[in-house]
Amino acid sequence: MSIRVLSPVSGLAAPLSEVPDPVFSQEMVGPGVAVKPNGGSACAVAPVDGTMSTLHPHAFVVTTDDGSRAVLVHLGIDTVKMEGAGFAPHVVKGERVRAGQKIVTWNPSEVEQQGYSSVCPVVALEVGRQALSDVTDDAGVSAGDPLFTVDS
């Protein structure tokens, strides 16, 4: 079986190697795709069906129901330093979510104004690069569009 991973934000999909953070650009926690979000207030959506296993204001992980796969969405780079300001989560840790469900309202333009990159790494945690297929990393995407498929 394979899982289709959706873009959490609308913007421009790009290779993870373009993210200005070695944890992501060197795929230390797994392969994936980066999305450079459009400006303005927006709501990031869940990339897959599953359980919200980790939830910070600026980042979250959804684990699939069989526990085999987990997808990380990080809203901007080093945004932990914003200490949650400007990020409004709509769910709680442990909650069941559906792919495409609204998770966090935020504003990429404000993140950029604060001096951080707003690029959003979307990472299939702890799998090999060969687990990914159907990768979109050089096109405009809308929130909820497929970004890649991960084997499970």
Partner: protein
């Protein structure tokens, strides 16, 4: 097992006397330490770190999604 990993990471960071602060962030432990020269990068990787980034007294240990759990296990050891 998780506690063993926390203990191994703590030891590789120079032991509890060398820790100023440890903060988890999704995929990594952001650690502020007293003496950067006491950090053993090879031992951190043996302990399960996917990567280590050190700038002086700030060390980021990339441990994956269990960062929150490991950080609280390390807090228990401090």
């Amino acid at each position: 097992m998780a506690e063993d990993k926390a203990a191994a990471i703590l030891a590789a960071l120079g032991g509890k006397g060398n820790i100023v602060e440890i903060e988890p962030c999704i995929t990594r432990l952001r650690c502020e330490i007293e003496d950067g020269s006491k950090v053993d990068e090879a031992a951190l990787k043996t302990a399960g770190a996917h990567g280590v980034m050190q700038q002086g007294t700030v060390v980021q240990v990339v441990v994956g999604p269990e960062a929150d759990t490991i950080a609280s296990d390390i807090e228990d050891l401090l």
